[in-house]
């Protein structure tokens, strides 16, 4: 037996619980307006439903049943809308929540409450799996508090209903302060366990996810992938005819679109990279928000693009072409297992980026929500257009170990000349310096010495060096200022290696080294766009070097406690503030205020956009599905009109047939009469409550003469049994009754009468 919940505190707590869950789900959205909008839209229905559940005493009242059914219909409607818009998972979540909001109306027992707890826990679990923000812990703490209060209230309510005696209850404030205290204890204990629980390396069984709000498709690319013309990797200067020119034009426009740096503003993903002005702006207007979250087992450099040709000031690629590759159901495998460790990375893009697939070299397999990608001669992967916010893709990279450095594994270098190119006007001082630092020899150790020399002898500075006309940036960096940003360091090492006949190239991408132990993700910010060096050695292949001071080489983390990881994360965050442009290590409050104002303006703008977008989406959806909706409505109407009566009759007959097998003769006689009355009532010929059975049967006879015998027989049997003064020994024949019922049911008209006509006609005939 389920008892009714009586304590209003249970409903208060449930309101907090559901509201917290709603906020946790809304926090997954990257739009600033979603949270307050969703809160305004969701809180009143939750409150109203819970109030109704607490206040009503008869949950089977017709009004509540209809209200619940209406809520279910609305929930289904929302699900269909979101599925049609491509939001499968979010749609299911919204559906689940909407169902719970509807059930709040009839939430009166512990069973209902258990279902509510289950729904909110599942929603919170899903949100935890999707969230990338440390702030989600706040929602979990709030959920803990609300859940604790709910459980305590239910427990007390249950015990007080069971008790026959009761002691003095403490004051409300004291009672809830005690419970809140224990809930807070629970939250603190949870936090301690969260830091203490061992986290073995992830198994990733069946977890190679890709998805998001965007699907990347390009027909030209797909055609090229399916029918490669052999010109994919050719020099862009070769005139391949009009078709080739058209294709190259389209490729260039796509590249321009792809390489539009987005908010990151980093020129390292463009056609060429100016080491003096890589594209990062100085001052307070710089965006340094998180652009992607990376789930990986170790810190990584996610490479986007490689440059191989340097003219003294800018880098560009000798070969601009690319090979188009079609994905097989979103998956592409590049190489088989080479025995090197495999590192899986799942990248969640939260800000529009240039259209490269950022991943650690050397990519072995890819899963991406698209039909085609492009690959250049240096294994850089590109997508059609820009990489949009909301995209998720996964990469498996085989990372060899080259004396503690990440490497792509041994592979031949067919044309090392591409990577030994030097600027025509390179100063001999550079070559001499390289020789001096690296001593004699061109092996990895020498390269390592050069790397350490640059890291220790030069200073990192985010500020752009303002160069006057005629000054060569690289030489000024190496011999005059001895400070600069990462492009200088990387360029210096690349050039100096090349002077010592070591094939080297400059790679750009993102540094995924800031690990947030609270969420388990590497947080990649806009200013983590970075440049580093890759040098080729026969036994290791392309090996990663990090000559820039302040940037650590991405190496596997030693097993550290979560607490120390948290300390490291906070240190990283503080360094982010320290090296904001224009600060040189000091925090300028004007910079902070300016950032805050910018965020406020962005929030208002996004709120406005969200409202407008929702209206456009709704109109678009309605317009898109209007014909189908109209057709479905018409079809439904026709079915309802033509099939309603036959459906009622079929269902009634089924019940009678079932009763014939299972009921006693007297009970069966009662059933036959009740079904007869119900059937005719549904078909527009109801019995007036003031009529006796005999009067009703007379009315049926007058309506249709065919009903005279069968209805009379059924009515007589019913009267004898139902209205006998004493328990009757009369046992009617079931077969006769069944036959009479079937004959009577055939008198149902095939189509409904006009509104009111059937009833009026029936009454007139009476």
């Amino acid at each position: 037996m389920t008892t009714r919940l009586k304590n209003p505190a249970v409903y208060y707590s449930l309101f907090g619980l559901q509201l917290t869950t709603l906020l946790a789900i809304l926090s997954l959205s990257h739009s600033a307006g979603v949270v307050p909008g969703g809160l305004l839209a969701g809180a009143p229905p939750i409150a109203l439903g819970l109030y109704t559940g607490w206040a009503n005493t008869d949950t089977r009242h017709a009004a509540y049943v209809q209200l619940t059914q209406a809520g279910v219909v609305i929930a289904l409607f929302l699900l269909v809308v979101m599925l049609a818009s491509g939001w499968l998972v979010n749609g299911l979540l919204v559906f689940l929540l909407a169902i719970q909001v509807t059930r709040n109306i009839t939430l009166t027992t512990r069973r209902d409450l258990s279902f509510c707890l289950f729904v909110t826990l599942v929603c919170l679990l899903f949100a935890a799996a999707q969230s990338r923000s440390s702030g989600f812990l706040v929602y979990m703490a709030a959920y803990t508090l609300a859940g604790g209060l709910t459980l305590a209230a239910v427990y007390q309510d249950d015990r007080m209903q069971l008790a026959i005696g009761q002691g003095h209850a403490p004051g409300r404030l004291r009672r809830w302060s005690v419970i809140s205290g224990f809930s807070a204890l629970l939250a603190v204990l949870s936090l301690v366990l969260y830091f203490a629980v061992p986290r073995p390396p992830a198994a990733h069984i069946g977890a190679f996810p890709a998805g998001g709000d965007n699907y990347y498709d390009d027909r030209d690319w797909l055609d090229e992938a399916v029918n490669p013309a052999g010109e994919a990797l050719a020099d862009s200067a070769v005139d391949g005819g009009s078709a080739g020119k058209a294709r190259r034009d389209r490729g260039k426009s796509a590249a321009q679109d792809r390489d539009a740096g987005g908010s990151s503003g980093y020129g390292g993903f463009g056609e060429q990279l100016d080491i003096d002005d890589p594209g990062r702006e100085g001052g307070a207007g710089l965006f340094n928000g998180i652009v992607m979250y990376v789930q990986a087992a170790r810190p990584l450099y996610l490479r986007g693009k490689v440059f191989d040709t340097f003219d003294g000031r800018t880098w560009h690629r000798r070969h601009s072409g690319s090979e188009k590759l079609a994905l097989d159901n979103g998956t592409l495998r590049f190489m088989e297992d080479t025995g090197h460790p495999v590192v899986q990375q799942t990248v969640n893009v939260v800000h529009d980026l240039p259209g490269y697939l950022y991943g650690a070299d050397r990519i072995a397999a890819l899963r991406f929500p698209g039909s085609v990608i492009a690959r250049d001669s240096d294994r850089g992967l590109q997508v059609p257009g820009r990489l949009r916010s909301g995209t998720t893709y996964s990469i498996r990279s085989m990372i060899a170990d080259a004396a503690g450095r990440p490497a792509g594994g041994a592979e031949p270098l067919p044309d090392p000349g591409d990577y030994l190119q030097l600027p025509a006007d390179l100063s001999p001082r550079v070559t001499a310096l390289a020789a001096e630092v690296m001593h004699v020899g061109s092996d990895m150790a020498a390269a390592g010495r050069l790397e350490q020399y640059l890291r220790t002898e030069y200073e990192y500075s985010f500020s752009t060096i303002v160069s006057s006309q005629g000054v060569i940036p690289l030489e000024e960096f190496l011999f005059e200022t001895r400070r600069g940003h990462c492009e200088y360091f990387a360029t210096a090492m690349t050039v100096m290696l090349r002077t010592q006949h070591v094939p080297a190239r400059l790679a750009t991408g993102f540094s995924a080294t800031t690990y947030n132990p609270l969420t388990g993700y590497f947080e990649v910010r806009a200013l983590d766009a970075h440049a580093w060096v890759e040098a080729w050695f026969p036994e290791y292949g392309w090996v990663l070097f990090e000559p820039t001071a302040f940037y650590p080489l991405p190496q596997p983390r030693e097993d550290a406690s979560t607490g120390s990881q948290l300390t490291e994360y906070l240190d990283d965050l503080s360094r982010v503030w320290d090296y904001l442009p224009g600060t040189d290590g000091e925090i300028h409050w004007s910079v902070l205020a300016s950032h805050a104002w910018q965020r406020m303006a962005e929030f208002l703008q996004q709120l406005q956009f969200a409202i407008r977008h929702a209206a456009v989406l709704l109109a678009h959806w309605l317009w898109r599905f209007a014909p189908a909706g109209v057709f479905a409505a018409v079809l439904s109407g026709l079915c309802w009109y033509y099939l309603r009566y036959p459906w009622f009759r079929m269902r009634s007959r089924q019940r009678v047939m079932r009763g014939r097998r299972t009921l006693s003769p007297q009970a069966f006689a009662m059933l036959c009469y009740q079904e007869l009355e119900a059937l005719f009532g549904r078909c527009g010929y109801p019995r007036d409550p003031a009529w006796t059975v005999e009067e009703y049967i007379d009315g049926l006879r007058a309506f249709d003469a065919r009903l005279a015998a069968p209805a009379g027989s059924i009515g007589n049997s019913f009267s004898r049994i139902r209205y006998a003064l004493q328990p009757s020994a009369f046992e009617p024949d079931r077969e006769v009754l069944c036959s009479d019922y079937l004959r009577a049911s055939r008198a149902i008209p095939p189509l409904p009468a006009l509104p009111g006509q059937g009833v009026l006609g029936f009454l007139r005939k009476r």
């Binding site: 812990l137 459980l151 992830a202």
Partner: protein, 404 residues
Amino acid sequence: MPRPEPNRLFAPTTVLVLVSALLYLIAWNRGIALLYGMFALVLATLLVSWFTPRWALSRVEAVRRHPARASEGEDVEFVIGLENRGWIGRYMLEVWDHLPFAAPDSQQAMAFVPMLGDRHTVSMRLPCDLRGEYTFDSLTLKTGFPFGLHSATRRIATAPGTLLVYPAVFRIIRLDYLGNESLPADGNRSVIRAGGAGDFMGVREYRRGDSPRHIHWSASAHHGALMVRELEWISITRVTLVLNLNAADNCGEGRESTLEYAVKIAASIARHALDEGHSVALFGQGRNRLSIPGGRGEAHFQTLLDALARVRADGDTPCAEAMRLAGEHEGGRGVLVVFENQLSDAQAGAFIDAGQHRVIRVRFNTDSFLYPARRPAAGGRRIESGDQVYHIGRGADLERVFAT
């Protein structure tokens, strides 16, 4: 009415353990830190739910106080005093006591204490369902504080106590055979009073039918009209209640058994007879012989009640034999009230011949006690073979039956 504890397929803690294991597996597979957070949350809930109740029950003592006697149907209040010897208050304590005198579905009674500071008392009030002698020993403290997911239990020994529940007594207005055979006639009315000899009450005018022996001549001369003496005739009847304590003859269960009905009727007859000034004795042959000699007054009634509260149908002496023994034991004349279960006439006749007692027979319709679903037969009083026979079925209104 308190409801029983619901049977759950899985205990909440079992569900939480499974959920936490599942969460850990999911978190490990996906490598998502926040899922470890969910695992930590569930695990912390389990730990708090496991250890806190045990702490909440520690250093709490209890004592019980209750009355020594009560009657069937009367509410009995049990007062339990709790003392917290810890420094911190205790919350959401459940005090469970087994009260066997209550109805079967109410015997496990619980008092809920939301907060226990230093000392506190709670009371539990329940109606006595069945007469008898009940003993109480330990109390049980239980709590699921704070979330009710897992409960800890602790038994607290208390001083043994006893409660004697007397049978319920209903009012009997009149019972035949209680009084002298030669009933004085005063006009058309018989006066039956017990407790003494014929006492002069006063004079009144002569009415047709009065005996001439009662004319008071001096009063008549004084009043100038015939006046008669009015006397209070007193007769004492010795009433012996003979209970059928044969276990095989006891039909029904609990309150709805022939023995319980018999005890109620016996107590009520004793009340009525003693109020009328008669002498009441009690006899029964169970495992041990129950024999309380005749007596009068309130103290004797208390003695009878004490015996009736404890009597059990644990013997194997047939009813007729018990009646015979009662007749022999009592000897002489008097009224025997016997309780029988649809004895055959032969047995009844054998008994009647055994003595010179007048018999009031209370005959139970055993079918109604054996088959509770059947409609109970209507009770009533009849004269059979010169005996007053009260037919009692299950559910009969005894006061109404004995008023007929």
